[in-house]
Protein backbone atom coordinates (compact mmCIF):
# COMPACT_ATOMS: atom_id res chain seq x y z
CA UNK A 1 0.00 0.00 0.00
CA UNK A 2 1.47 3.34 -0.98
CA UNK A 3 0.15 6.75 -1.97
CA UNK A 4 -0.09 5.92 -5.67
CA UNK A 5 -2.03 2.72 -4.99
CA UNK A 6 -4.24 4.58 -2.52
CA UNK A 7 -4.94 7.32 -5.11
CA UNK A 8 -5.84 4.68 -7.64
CA UNK A 9 -8.15 2.84 -5.24
CA UNK A 10 -9.80 6.11 -4.27
CA UNK A 11 -10.50 6.80 -7.94
CA UNK A 12 -11.81 3.29 -8.49
CA UNK A 13 -14.16 3.62 -5.53
CA UNK A 14 -16.08 6.26 -7.55
CA UNK A 15 -16.38 4.46 -10.89
CA UNK A 16 -18.99 6.77 -12.43
CA UNK A 17 -17.22 10.01 -11.75
CA UNK A 18 -13.97 8.34 -12.82
CA UNK A 19 -15.65 7.34 -16.08
CA UNK A 20 -17.03 10.84 -16.72
CA UNK A 21 -13.68 12.52 -16.15
CA UNK A 22 -11.83 9.97 -18.25
CA UNK A 23 -14.28 10.11 -21.16
CA UNK A 24 -14.20 13.91 -21.27
CA UNK A 25 -10.44 14.03 -21.02
CA UNK A 26 -9.90 11.31 -23.60
CA UNK A 27 -12.32 13.04 -25.97
CA UNK A 28 -10.49 16.35 -25.77
CA UNK A 29 -7.04 14.84 -26.09
CA UNK A 30 -8.17 12.46 -28.83
CA UNK A 31 -9.72 15.23 -30.90
CA UNK A 32 -6.58 17.38 -30.71
CA UNK A 33 -4.33 14.46 -31.51
CA UNK A 34 -6.53 13.43 -34.45
CA UNK A 35 -6.43 16.99 -35.79
CA UNK A 36 -2.65 16.99 -35.50
CA UNK A 37 -2.41 13.66 -37.30
CA UNK A 38 -4.73 14.57 -40.17
CA UNK A 39 -3.18 17.99 -40.56
CA UNK A 40 0.36 16.68 -40.58
CA UNK A 41 -0.35 13.88 -43.01
CA UNK A 42 -2.36 16.09 -45.37
CA UNK A 43 0.42 18.67 -45.36
CA UNK A 44 2.97 15.98 -46.07
CA UNK A 45 0.92 14.73 -49.02
CA UNK A 46 0.54 18.25 -50.36
CA UNK A 47 4.19 19.12 -49.93
CA UNK A 48 5.38 15.91 -51.49
CA UNK A 49 3.13 16.36 -54.50
CA UNK A 50 4.31 19.90 -55.14
CA UNK A 51 7.24 18.12 -56.79
CA UNK A 52 8.94 21.34 -57.80
CA UNK A 53 6.13 22.36 -60.12
CA UNK A 54 6.14 26.14 -60.58
CA UNK A 55 3.10 26.65 -62.76
CA UNK A 56 0.16 24.60 -64.05
CA UNK A 57 -1.55 25.47 -67.32
CA UNK A 58 -5.08 24.29 -68.04
CA UNK A 59 -8.47 25.44 -69.29
CA UNK A 60 -10.09 28.55 -67.85
CA UNK A 61 -11.94 27.92 -64.62
CA UNK A 62 -11.16 27.60 -60.95
CA UNK A 63 -7.41 27.68 -60.28
CA UNK A 64 -7.87 25.55 -57.15
CA UNK A 65 -9.74 22.92 -59.14
CA UNK A 66 -6.99 22.92 -61.76
CA UNK A 67 -4.34 22.34 -59.09
CA UNK A 68 -6.34 19.74 -57.17
CA UNK A 69 -7.20 17.74 -60.28
CA UNK A 70 -3.87 17.91 -62.05
CA UNK A 71 -1.47 17.68 -59.12
CA UNK A 72 -3.38 15.88 -56.39
CA UNK A 73 -5.84 13.96 -58.56
CA UNK A 74 -8.70 14.61 -56.16
CA UNK A 75 -11.06 17.04 -57.90
CA UNK A 76 -12.82 16.70 -61.28
CA UNK A 77 -10.54 17.67 -64.19
CA UNK A 78 -11.01 21.01 -65.88
CA UNK A 79 -11.74 21.25 -69.62
CA UNK A 80 -9.31 20.48 -72.42
CA UNK A 81 -6.61 22.64 -73.90
CA UNK A 82 -5.64 22.28 -77.58
CA UNK A 83 -2.03 21.39 -78.31
CA UNK A 84 -2.04 24.25 -80.80
CA UNK A 85 -2.39 26.77 -78.00
CA UNK A 86 0.27 25.34 -75.69
CA UNK A 87 2.82 24.78 -78.41
CA UNK A 88 5.27 27.40 -77.13
CA UNK A 89 5.33 25.81 -73.67
CA UNK A 90 6.07 22.29 -74.87
CA UNK A 91 8.90 23.46 -77.07
CA UNK A 92 12.02 21.87 -75.53
CA UNK A 93 14.01 24.98 -76.52
CA UNK A 94 11.89 27.34 -74.45
CA UNK A 95 14.35 29.67 -72.71
CA UNK A 96 12.77 29.54 -69.21
CA UNK A 97 10.99 26.20 -69.02
CA UNK A 98 13.03 23.24 -67.83
CA UNK A 99 10.30 20.60 -67.95
CA UNK A 100 6.76 20.55 -69.30
CA UNK A 101 4.69 17.52 -68.28
CA UNK A 102 1.50 16.99 -70.30
CA UNK A 103 -1.47 15.43 -68.50
CA UNK A 104 -4.58 13.90 -70.03
CA UNK A 105 -7.15 13.20 -67.35
CA UNK A 106 -10.70 11.98 -67.14
CA UNK A 107 -10.53 8.20 -67.58
CA UNK A 108 -10.30 5.66 -64.85
CA UNK A 109 -10.23 1.96 -64.06
CA UNK A 110 -12.27 0.79 -61.04
CA UNK A 111 -12.07 4.25 -59.54
CA UNK A 112 -8.32 4.63 -60.01
CA UNK A 113 -7.41 7.47 -62.35
CA UNK A 114 -5.68 6.89 -65.64
CA UNK A 115 -3.29 9.67 -66.59
CA UNK A 116 -1.88 10.16 -70.07
CA UNK A 117 1.55 11.75 -69.87
CA UNK A 118 5.15 11.28 -70.95
CA UNK A 119 8.42 10.18 -69.38
CA UNK A 120 8.98 13.62 -67.79
CA UNK A 121 6.20 12.81 -65.33
CA UNK A 122 8.35 10.09 -63.79
CA UNK A 123 11.37 12.37 -63.49
CA UNK A 124 9.31 15.06 -61.76
CA UNK A 125 7.80 12.66 -59.22
CA UNK A 126 10.95 10.60 -58.83
CA UNK A 127 9.03 7.49 -59.84
CA UNK A 128 10.66 4.42 -61.34
CA UNK A 129 9.49 0.97 -62.20
CA UNK A 130 9.99 -1.63 -59.50
CA UNK A 131 8.91 -4.52 -61.71
CA UNK A 132 8.64 -4.65 -65.48
CA UNK A 133 9.38 -1.69 -67.69
CA UNK A 134 8.06 1.67 -68.78
CA UNK A 135 5.33 1.86 -71.43
CA UNK A 136 6.87 2.04 -74.89
CA UNK A 137 3.83 1.87 -77.17
CA UNK A 138 0.28 3.15 -77.10
CA UNK A 139 -2.08 1.10 -74.92
CA UNK A 140 0.73 0.09 -72.61
CA UNK A 141 0.52 1.34 -69.03
CA UNK A 142 2.43 1.32 -65.77
CA UNK A 143 0.62 1.32 -62.47
CA UNK A 144 1.47 3.07 -59.18
CA UNK A 145 2.37 0.92 -56.19
CA UNK A 146 -0.81 1.44 -54.17
CA UNK A 147 -3.10 1.20 -57.18
CA UNK A 148 -1.43 -2.06 -58.24
CA UNK A 149 -2.00 -3.50 -54.77
CA UNK A 150 -5.58 -2.31 -54.50
CA UNK A 151 -6.55 -3.43 -58.00
CA UNK A 152 -4.44 -6.56 -57.86
CA UNK A 153 -2.84 -5.75 -61.20
CA UNK A 154 0.20 -7.66 -62.41
CA UNK A 155 2.47 -7.29 -65.36
CA UNK A 156 0.77 -8.52 -68.53
CA UNK A 157 -2.76 -7.91 -67.18
CA UNK A 158 -5.12 -6.13 -69.51
CA UNK A 159 -8.12 -3.94 -68.71
CA UNK A 160 -10.61 -1.58 -70.29
CA UNK A 161 -10.67 1.99 -69.10
CA UNK A 162 -13.88 3.78 -68.16
CA UNK A 163 -14.81 7.26 -69.23
CA UNK A 164 -15.11 9.50 -66.18
CA UNK A 165 -13.82 8.87 -62.70
CA UNK A 166 -16.57 6.59 -61.43
CA UNK A 167 -16.45 2.86 -61.77
CA UNK A 168 -19.28 2.71 -64.29
CA UNK A 169 -19.76 -0.22 -66.65
CA UNK A 170 -21.97 1.81 -69.01
CA UNK A 171 -19.10 4.13 -69.75
CA UNK A 172 -16.41 1.57 -70.46
CA UNK A 173 -14.17 2.11 -73.47
CA UNK A 174 -14.49 -1.49 -74.49
CA UNK A 175 -12.76 -1.27 -77.85
CA UNK A 176 -9.19 -0.84 -76.75
CA UNK A 177 -7.64 -2.53 -73.78
CA UNK A 178 -4.59 -1.44 -71.83
CA UNK A 179 -1.80 -3.82 -71.00
CA UNK A 180 0.31 -3.44 -67.84
CA UNK A 181 4.04 -3.39 -68.58
CA UNK A 182 5.35 -2.23 -65.24
CA UNK A 183 4.61 -1.48 -61.62
CA UNK A 184 6.13 1.59 -59.96
CA UNK A 185 8.05 1.61 -56.71
CA UNK A 186 6.24 3.50 -53.94
CA UNK A 187 7.02 7.24 -54.06
CA UNK A 188 4.75 8.64 -51.36
CA UNK A 189 3.33 10.97 -54.00
CA UNK A 190 0.16 10.99 -56.09
CA UNK A 191 1.92 8.71 -58.59
CA UNK A 192 1.29 5.79 -56.23
CA UNK A 193 -2.44 6.03 -56.80
CA UNK A 194 -2.41 6.37 -60.57
CA UNK A 195 -2.34 4.31 -63.72
CA UNK A 196 0.02 6.00 -66.13
CA UNK A 197 0.15 5.71 -69.87
CA UNK A 198 1.25 7.76 -72.87
CA UNK A 199 -0.79 10.77 -73.89
CA UNK A 200 -1.21 9.08 -77.25
CA UNK A 201 -2.90 6.06 -75.59
CA UNK A 202 -5.66 8.30 -74.24
CA UNK A 203 -6.12 9.77 -77.70
CA UNK A 204 -6.17 6.29 -79.20
CA UNK A 205 -8.93 5.18 -76.79
CA UNK A 206 -11.08 8.16 -77.65
CA UNK A 207 -10.48 7.92 -81.38
CA UNK A 208 -11.63 4.34 -81.32
CA UNK A 209 -14.68 5.61 -79.59
CA UNK A 210 -15.37 8.33 -82.15
CA UNK A 211 -14.68 6.30 -85.27
CA UNK A 212 -14.14 2.70 -84.46
CA UNK A 213 -15.37 1.72 -87.91
CA UNK A 214 -12.32 3.29 -89.50
CA UNK A 215 -8.94 1.73 -89.68
CA UNK A 216 -6.55 1.61 -86.82
CA UNK A 217 -4.85 4.93 -86.02
CA UNK A 218 -2.43 3.66 -83.49
CA UNK A 219 0.45 3.63 -85.90
CA UNK A 220 0.00 7.32 -86.43
CA UNK A 221 -0.17 7.92 -82.69
CA UNK A 222 3.45 6.94 -82.24
CA UNK A 223 4.45 7.81 -78.70
CA UNK A 224 7.98 8.69 -79.81
CA UNK A 225 6.65 11.70 -81.71
CA UNK A 226 6.47 14.99 -79.79
CA UNK A 227 3.03 16.29 -78.85
CA UNK A 228 3.60 19.35 -81.04
CA UNK A 229 3.17 17.02 -84.01
CA UNK A 230 -0.51 16.70 -83.09
CA UNK A 231 -1.76 20.29 -83.14
CA UNK A 232 -5.42 19.25 -83.57
CA UNK A 233 -5.37 17.13 -80.39
CA UNK A 234 -5.90 18.30 -76.83
CA UNK A 235 -4.68 17.50 -73.35
CA UNK A 236 -6.05 18.48 -69.90
CA UNK A 237 -3.18 20.26 -68.23
CA UNK A 238 0.50 21.03 -68.47
CA UNK A 239 2.81 21.05 -65.44
CA UNK A 240 5.79 23.40 -65.76
CA UNK A 241 9.12 23.52 -64.00
CA UNK A 242 11.13 26.69 -64.64
CA UNK A 243 14.85 26.81 -65.15
CA UNK A 244 15.12 29.57 -62.60
CA UNK A 245 13.14 32.42 -61.18
CA UNK A 246 13.28 35.67 -63.04
CA UNK A 247 11.01 38.48 -64.09
CA UNK A 248 9.82 36.64 -67.17
CA UNK A 249 8.73 33.55 -65.26
CA UNK A 250 7.04 35.74 -62.68
CA UNK A 251 5.11 37.45 -65.45
CA UNK A 252 4.26 34.26 -67.28
CA UNK A 253 1.21 33.43 -65.16
CA UNK A 254 -0.31 36.88 -65.52
CA UNK A 255 0.40 37.05 -69.22
CA UNK A 256 -1.17 33.62 -69.84
CA UNK A 257 -4.26 34.50 -67.85
CA UNK A 258 -4.66 37.87 -69.54
CA UNK A 259 -3.68 37.14 -73.12
CA UNK A 260 -4.76 33.58 -73.88
CA UNK A 261 -7.75 31.27 -73.51
CA UNK A 262 -5.67 29.27 -71.05
CA UNK A 263 -5.43 29.49 -67.32
CA UNK A 264 -2.19 29.38 -65.35
CA UNK A 265 -2.12 28.67 -61.62
CA UNK A 266 0.71 28.46 -59.07
CA UNK A 267 0.44 25.30 -56.93
CA UNK A 268 2.07 26.80 -53.83
CA UNK A 269 -0.37 29.74 -53.80
CA UNK A 270 -3.45 27.58 -54.34
CA UNK A 271 -2.40 25.14 -51.64
CA UNK A 272 -1.84 27.98 -49.20
CA UNK A 273 -5.33 29.19 -50.09
CA UNK A 274 -6.67 25.69 -49.47
CA UNK A 275 -4.95 25.51 -46.09
CA UNK A 276 -6.54 28.77 -45.05
CA UNK A 277 -9.95 27.48 -46.16
CA UNK A 278 -9.49 24.22 -44.22
CA UNK A 279 -7.83 26.14 -41.41
CA UNK A 280 -11.15 27.70 -40.34
CA UNK A 281 -12.69 24.28 -39.79
CA UNK A 282 -9.56 22.96 -38.12
CA UNK A 283 -9.43 26.03 -35.85
CA UNK A 284 -13.06 25.56 -34.84
CA UNK A 285 -12.40 21.91 -34.02
CA UNK A 286 -9.26 22.80 -32.10
CA UNK A 287 -11.18 25.31 -29.98
CA UNK A 288 -13.87 22.73 -29.40
CA UNK A 289 -11.24 20.24 -28.25
CA UNK A 290 -9.64 22.80 -25.93
CA UNK A 291 -13.05 23.58 -24.44
CA UNK A 292 -13.68 19.86 -23.89
CA UNK A 293 -10.33 19.58 -22.12
CA UNK A 294 -11.15 22.61 -19.99
CA UNK A 295 -14.53 21.08 -19.09
CA UNK A 296 -12.86 17.79 -18.25
CA UNK A 297 -10.39 19.68 -16.05
CA UNK A 298 -13.41 21.25 -14.37
CA UNK A 299 -15.02 17.85 -13.92
CA UNK A 300 -11.85 16.51 -12.29
CA UNK A 301 -11.80 19.57 -10.04
CA UNK A 302 -15.46 19.18 -9.07
CA UNK A 303 -15.26 15.46 -8.41
CA UNK A 304 -12.12 15.84 -6.28
CA UNK A 305 -13.57 18.82 -4.45
CA UNK A 306 -16.88 17.08 -3.79
CA UNK A 307 -15.11 13.93 -2.61
CA UNK A 308 -13.14 15.98 -0.07
CA UNK A 309 -16.31 16.69 1.87
CA UNK A 310 -17.01 13.02 2.46
CA UNK A 311 -13.35 12.16 2.84
CA UNK A 312 -12.59 14.82 5.47
CA UNK A 313 -12.69 12.21 8.18
CA UNK A 314 -10.47 9.83 6.21
CA UNK A 315 -7.94 12.58 5.64
CA UNK A 316 -7.90 13.52 9.31
CA UNK A 317 -7.53 9.84 10.10
CA UNK A 318 -4.51 9.61 7.84
CA UNK A 319 -2.99 12.52 9.75
CA UNK A 320 -3.48 10.62 13.04
CA UNK A 321 -1.74 7.65 11.43
CA UNK A 322 1.32 9.78 10.78
CA UNK A 323 0.67 11.32 7.35
CA UNK A 324 2.04 14.83 7.00
CA UNK A 325 -0.08 17.56 5.38
CA UNK A 326 2.17 17.28 2.34
CA UNK A 327 1.25 13.61 1.97
CA UNK A 328 -2.42 14.50 1.85
CA UNK A 329 -1.62 17.18 -0.74
CA UNK A 330 0.34 14.62 -2.77
CA UNK A 331 -2.48 12.09 -2.47
CA UNK A 332 -5.05 14.40 -4.06
CA UNK A 333 -2.61 15.75 -6.67
CA UNK A 334 -1.76 12.16 -7.62
CA UNK A 335 -5.45 11.48 -8.19
CA UNK A 336 -5.63 14.44 -10.60
CA UNK A 337 -2.43 13.38 -12.37
CA UNK A 338 -3.53 9.76 -12.64
CA UNK A 339 -6.83 10.84 -14.16
CA UNK A 340 -5.22 13.12 -16.70
CA UNK A 341 -2.45 10.70 -17.64
CA UNK A 342 -4.95 7.89 -18.08
CA UNK A 343 -7.31 10.15 -20.02
CA UNK A 344 -4.40 11.15 -22.23
CA UNK A 345 -3.47 7.52 -22.95
CA UNK A 346 -7.06 6.63 -23.82
CA UNK A 347 -7.35 9.75 -25.98
CA UNK A 348 -4.17 8.94 -27.89
CA UNK A 349 -5.29 5.35 -28.38
CA UNK A 350 -8.66 6.61 -29.64
CA UNK A 351 -7.13 9.08 -32.07
CA UNK A 352 -4.62 6.65 -33.53
CA UNK A 353 -7.17 3.86 -33.75
CA UNK A 354 -9.65 6.31 -35.24
CA UNK A 355 -7.05 7.55 -37.71
CA UNK A 356 -6.39 3.98 -38.79
CA UNK A 357 -10.10 3.51 -39.46
CA UNK A 358 -10.43 6.94 -41.08
CA UNK A 359 -7.45 6.06 -43.29
CA UNK A 360 -9.56 3.37 -44.93
CA UNK A 361 -12.30 5.85 -45.83
CA UNK A 362 -9.84 8.49 -47.00
CA UNK A 363 -8.14 5.92 -49.16
CA UNK A 364 -11.44 4.94 -50.76
CA UNK A 365 -12.41 8.55 -51.38
CA UNK A 366 -9.14 10.22 -52.30
CA UNK A 367 -6.88 7.28 -53.13
CA UNK A 368 -4.40 8.65 -50.61
CA UNK A 369 -2.87 6.56 -47.88
CA UNK A 370 -3.01 7.74 -44.28
CA UNK A 371 -1.91 5.90 -41.18
CA UNK A 372 -2.58 5.93 -37.44
CA UNK A 373 0.74 4.27 -36.73
CA UNK A 374 2.89 7.40 -36.57
CA UNK A 375 3.38 9.46 -33.43
CA UNK A 376 4.14 13.16 -33.47
CA UNK A 377 6.38 15.30 -31.33
CA UNK A 378 3.35 17.54 -30.72
CA UNK A 379 1.67 14.64 -28.93
CA UNK A 380 4.44 14.75 -26.35
CA UNK A 381 3.65 18.44 -25.76
CA UNK A 382 0.02 17.40 -25.51
CA UNK A 383 1.05 15.02 -22.70
CA UNK A 384 2.69 17.87 -20.80
CA UNK A 385 -0.44 19.94 -21.35
CA UNK A 386 -2.64 17.10 -20.09
CA UNK A 387 -0.50 16.66 -16.97
CA UNK A 388 -0.66 20.41 -16.37
CA UNK A 389 -4.47 20.38 -16.61
CA UNK A 390 -4.63 17.44 -14.18
CA UNK A 391 -2.35 19.25 -11.74
CA UNK A 392 -4.24 22.54 -12.02
CA UNK A 393 -7.56 20.78 -11.43
CA UNK A 394 -6.23 19.00 -8.34
CA UNK A 395 -4.18 21.72 -6.70
CA UNK A 396 -7.00 23.57 -4.91
CA UNK A 397 -8.67 20.41 -3.52
CA UNK A 398 -5.19 19.19 -2.57
CA UNK A 399 -4.41 22.37 -0.65
CA UNK A 400 -7.77 22.06 1.05
CA UNK A 401 -6.95 18.46 1.97
CA UNK A 402 -3.55 19.37 3.38
CA UNK A 403 -5.20 22.01 5.57
CA UNK A 404 -7.63 19.54 7.13
CA UNK A 405 -8.04 20.41 10.82
CA UNK A 406 -7.60 17.07 12.54
CA UNK A 407 -9.04 18.00 15.88
CA UNK A 408 -12.16 19.69 14.57
CA UNK A 409 -12.88 16.97 12.05
CA UNK A 410 -12.39 14.14 14.49
CA UNK A 411 -14.33 15.87 17.27
CA UNK A 412 -17.41 16.04 15.04
CA UNK A 413 -19.80 13.36 16.02
Amino acid sequence: MNLLALSWKNLLSKPLSLLLSLVLFALGVGLISLLLLVNRQLEEKFEKNLAGINLVIGAKGSPLQLILSSMYHIDAPTGNIPIQEIRPFINPRHPFIKTAVPLSLGDSYKGYRIVGTNSDFFKVYGAETGQGKMFEKTMEAVVGANAAKALDLKIGDTFFSAHGLQDDLEMTHDHASFRITGILKPTGSAADQLILTATQSIWAVHEHEAAHQQEDHSNELDIQRPLSDFPEKAITALLLQFKGRNIQTLNMQRSINENTNLQAATPAIEITRLYSLMGIGADALRWLALIIIAVSGLSIFISLYASLKERRYELALMRTMGASPFRLFALIVLEGLLLSALGYLIGIALSHGGMQILAGFLQDTYRYTFTGKVFLKEELFLLFGAIAVGFAAAVIPALQASNTDIHETLAER
Binding site: N10, G322, P325, L410, R413
Partner: protein, 213 residues
Protein backbone atom coordinates in the same frame (compact mmCIF):
# COMPACT_ATOMS: atom_id res chain seq x y z
CA UNK B 1 5.79 7.21 30.53
CA UNK B 2 3.05 9.82 29.98
CA UNK B 3 3.28 12.95 32.03
CA UNK B 4 1.54 16.30 31.71
CA UNK B 5 2.11 19.41 33.73
CA UNK B 6 -0.11 22.44 33.90
CA UNK B 7 -1.79 21.59 30.58
CA UNK B 8 -4.09 24.33 29.19
CA UNK B 9 -6.04 24.82 26.06
CA UNK B 10 -8.38 27.58 24.86
CA UNK B 11 -10.77 27.58 21.93
CA UNK B 12 -10.99 30.78 19.92
CA UNK B 13 -13.15 33.20 21.89
CA UNK B 14 -13.65 30.68 24.67
CA UNK B 15 -12.30 30.41 28.15
CA UNK B 16 -9.19 28.40 28.82
CA UNK B 17 -9.53 24.78 29.86
CA UNK B 18 -7.11 23.65 32.52
CA UNK B 19 -6.41 19.96 32.87
CA UNK B 20 -5.18 18.10 35.95
CA UNK B 21 -1.63 16.86 35.79
CA UNK B 22 -1.49 13.27 34.58
CA UNK B 23 1.19 10.73 35.30
CA UNK B 24 0.93 7.23 33.82
CA UNK B 25 3.60 4.55 34.09
CA UNK B 26 4.58 2.13 31.37
CA UNK B 27 2.03 -0.63 30.84
CA UNK B 28 -0.62 0.91 33.08
CA UNK B 29 -4.27 1.05 32.06
CA UNK B 30 -6.27 4.18 32.96
CA UNK B 31 -9.69 5.68 32.48
CA UNK B 32 -10.19 9.39 31.90
CA UNK B 33 -13.69 10.19 33.13
CA UNK B 34 -15.84 13.27 32.86
CA UNK B 35 -19.22 14.61 31.86
CA UNK B 36 -20.00 15.63 28.33
CA UNK B 37 -18.42 18.98 27.59
CA UNK B 38 -15.82 18.60 30.32
CA UNK B 39 -13.06 18.59 27.68
CA UNK B 40 -12.36 14.85 27.55
CA UNK B 41 -11.92 14.74 23.78
CA UNK B 42 -9.87 17.95 23.85
CA UNK B 43 -7.62 16.39 26.45
CA UNK B 44 -7.21 13.23 24.39
CA UNK B 45 -6.38 15.25 21.27
CA UNK B 46 -3.80 17.23 23.22
CA UNK B 47 -2.20 14.01 24.46
CA UNK B 48 -2.25 12.58 20.93
CA UNK B 49 -0.66 15.68 19.45
CA UNK B 50 -3.74 16.43 17.35
CA UNK B 51 -4.03 19.80 19.11
CA UNK B 52 -1.35 22.08 20.48
CA UNK B 53 -1.75 23.30 24.09
CA UNK B 54 -1.52 27.01 24.88
CA UNK B 55 0.47 26.21 27.96
CA UNK B 56 1.99 23.28 29.80
CA UNK B 57 4.07 20.24 28.85
CA UNK B 58 3.32 16.77 27.59
CA UNK B 59 6.04 14.18 27.85
CA UNK B 60 5.61 10.82 26.15
CA UNK B 61 8.49 8.45 26.81
CA UNK B 62 11.47 10.76 26.55
CA UNK B 63 9.90 13.21 24.11
CA UNK B 64 8.34 16.55 25.00
CA UNK B 65 5.83 16.51 22.17
CA UNK B 66 4.85 20.18 22.42
CA UNK B 67 8.38 21.02 21.27
CA UNK B 68 8.16 18.96 18.04
CA UNK B 69 7.47 20.71 14.76
CA UNK B 70 4.43 19.69 12.77
CA UNK B 71 6.15 17.16 10.53
CA UNK B 72 8.03 15.53 13.42
CA UNK B 73 4.85 15.44 15.50
CA UNK B 74 2.94 13.68 12.66
CA UNK B 75 5.67 11.12 12.44
CA UNK B 76 5.93 10.64 16.20
CA UNK B 77 2.16 10.14 16.43
CA UNK B 78 2.12 7.60 13.60
CA UNK B 79 4.99 5.69 15.11
CA UNK B 80 4.33 5.76 18.86
CA UNK B 81 0.66 6.58 19.50
CA UNK B 82 -2.30 4.43 18.53
CA UNK B 83 -5.63 6.20 18.60
CA UNK B 84 -9.08 4.58 18.65
CA UNK B 85 -12.16 6.72 18.09
CA UNK B 86 -15.70 6.32 19.31
CA UNK B 87 -16.92 5.53 15.82
CA UNK B 88 -14.48 3.53 13.78
CA UNK B 89 -13.53 5.29 10.54
CA UNK B 90 -11.44 3.84 7.77
CA UNK B 91 -10.26 4.62 4.26
CA UNK B 92 -13.39 3.37 2.53
CA UNK B 93 -11.71 2.55 -0.77
CA UNK B 94 -9.43 0.03 0.98
CA UNK B 95 -9.92 -3.41 2.47
CA UNK B 96 -9.26 -4.24 6.12
CA UNK B 97 -5.78 -5.51 5.29
CA UNK B 98 -4.96 -2.48 3.13
CA UNK B 99 -6.09 -0.11 5.89
CA UNK B 100 -3.65 -1.72 8.30
CA UNK B 101 -0.84 -1.80 5.75
CA UNK B 102 -1.46 1.89 5.11
CA UNK B 103 -1.11 2.54 8.86
CA UNK B 104 2.30 0.86 8.77
CA UNK B 105 3.32 2.71 5.65
CA UNK B 106 2.27 6.15 6.93
CA UNK B 107 4.21 5.57 10.16
CA UNK B 108 7.31 4.78 8.10
CA UNK B 109 7.26 1.13 9.14
CA UNK B 110 7.86 -1.84 6.92
CA UNK B 111 4.59 -3.20 5.50
CA UNK B 112 4.28 -6.57 7.15
CA UNK B 113 1.39 -8.72 5.93
CA UNK B 114 2.03 -11.52 8.41
CA UNK B 115 1.95 -9.05 11.33
CA UNK B 116 -1.37 -7.71 9.99
CA UNK B 117 -2.96 -11.12 9.59
CA UNK B 118 -1.67 -12.38 12.98
CA UNK B 119 -3.08 -9.34 14.67
CA UNK B 120 -6.46 -9.75 13.00
CA UNK B 121 -6.45 -13.45 13.91
CA UNK B 122 -5.90 -12.63 17.55
CA UNK B 123 -8.74 -10.12 17.44
CA UNK B 124 -10.96 -12.83 15.94
CA UNK B 125 -11.48 -11.21 12.55
CA UNK B 126 -8.76 -12.95 10.55
CA UNK B 127 -11.30 -13.99 7.93
CA UNK B 128 -12.21 -10.37 7.15
CA UNK B 129 -8.78 -9.56 5.73
CA UNK B 130 -9.91 -8.84 2.17
CA UNK B 131 -13.25 -7.26 3.05
CA UNK B 132 -14.03 -3.56 2.58
CA UNK B 133 -14.49 -1.91 5.97
CA UNK B 134 -18.05 -0.71 5.33
CA UNK B 135 -19.14 -4.35 5.01
CA UNK B 136 -18.29 -5.00 8.68
CA UNK B 137 -20.58 -4.81 11.71
CA UNK B 138 -19.98 -2.07 14.30
CA UNK B 139 -18.27 -4.55 16.63
CA UNK B 140 -16.03 -5.84 13.85
CA UNK B 141 -15.19 -2.29 12.81
CA UNK B 142 -14.14 -1.45 16.35
CA UNK B 143 -11.86 -4.52 16.37
CA UNK B 144 -10.25 -3.41 13.13
CA UNK B 145 -9.80 0.04 14.67
CA UNK B 146 -8.04 -1.58 17.63
CA UNK B 147 -5.89 -3.59 15.25
CA UNK B 148 -4.97 -0.40 13.38
CA UNK B 149 -4.01 1.34 16.63
CA UNK B 150 -1.84 -1.62 17.63
CA UNK B 151 -0.25 -2.53 14.35
CA UNK B 152 2.86 -0.39 14.86
CA UNK B 153 3.35 -1.56 18.49
CA UNK B 154 2.86 1.94 19.96
CA UNK B 155 3.96 2.88 23.46
CA UNK B 156 0.72 4.78 24.09
CA UNK B 157 -2.82 3.80 23.14
CA UNK B 158 -5.50 6.48 23.38
CA UNK B 159 -9.12 5.37 23.06
CA UNK B 160 -11.93 7.89 22.77
CA UNK B 161 -15.25 6.39 23.93
CA UNK B 162 -14.40 3.06 22.27
CA UNK B 163 -17.40 1.24 23.76
CA UNK B 164 -20.17 3.81 23.96
CA UNK B 165 -21.62 2.89 20.55
CA UNK B 166 -21.64 -0.84 21.33
CA UNK B 167 -24.06 -3.16 23.13
CA UNK B 168 -23.06 -4.74 26.44
CA UNK B 169 -21.57 -7.91 24.99
CA UNK B 170 -19.53 -6.10 22.35
CA UNK B 171 -18.47 -3.41 24.82
CA UNK B 172 -17.21 -6.05 27.19
CA UNK B 173 -15.38 -7.85 24.41
CA UNK B 174 -13.77 -4.64 23.11
CA UNK B 175 -12.63 -3.72 26.62
CA UNK B 176 -11.14 -7.20 27.04
CA UNK B 177 -9.33 -6.99 23.73
CA UNK B 178 -7.99 -3.50 24.49
CA UNK B 179 -6.55 -4.68 27.78
CA UNK B 180 -5.12 -7.89 26.33
CA UNK B 181 -3.55 -6.28 23.30
CA UNK B 182 -2.16 -3.30 25.20
CA UNK B 183 -0.57 -5.77 27.61
CA UNK B 184 0.79 -7.78 24.69
CA UNK B 185 2.77 -4.84 23.27
CA UNK B 186 3.36 -3.42 26.79
CA UNK B 187 1.69 -0.18 25.82
CA UNK B 188 0.22 2.35 28.21
CA UNK B 189 -3.55 2.51 27.70
CA UNK B 190 -5.71 5.55 28.37
CA UNK B 191 -9.45 5.25 27.74
CA UNK B 192 -11.53 8.40 27.67
CA UNK B 193 -15.09 7.52 28.54
CA UNK B 194 -18.28 8.24 30.43
CA UNK B 195 -19.32 4.61 30.01
CA UNK B 196 -20.20 3.27 33.48
CA UNK B 197 -19.73 -0.31 32.29
CA UNK B 198 -15.96 0.29 32.19
CA UNK B 199 -15.57 2.01 35.55
CA UNK B 200 -15.64 -1.19 37.56
CA UNK B 201 -12.89 -2.93 35.60
CA UNK B 202 -10.22 -0.17 35.59
CA UNK B 203 -9.01 0.80 39.05
CA UNK B 204 -6.82 3.67 37.77
CA UNK B 205 -9.10 6.61 37.03
CA UNK B 206 -8.65 10.30 36.40
CA UNK B 207 -11.68 12.57 36.67
CA UNK B 208 -11.94 15.79 34.70
CA UNK B 209 -13.70 18.35 36.85
CA UNK B 210 -15.25 21.66 36.03
CA UNK B 211 -14.08 23.29 32.84
CA UNK B 212 -13.27 26.64 34.50
CA UNK B 213 -9.78 27.27 35.81
Amino acid sequence: MLQTTNLQYAYAGGQALRFPDIRLEKGEHWLLLGQSGSGKTTCLHLLGGLLSPIAGNIRIGNTAIETLDRRALDFFRGRHIGIIFQKAHFIRALTVEENLLLAQQLAGEKQDKSRVSNLLQRLGIGHKLKVKTDKLSAGEQQRVAIARALVNRPMLILADEPTSALDDASANEVANLLEEQAAEVQATLLIVTHDNRLKSRFPHQIALQSTLP
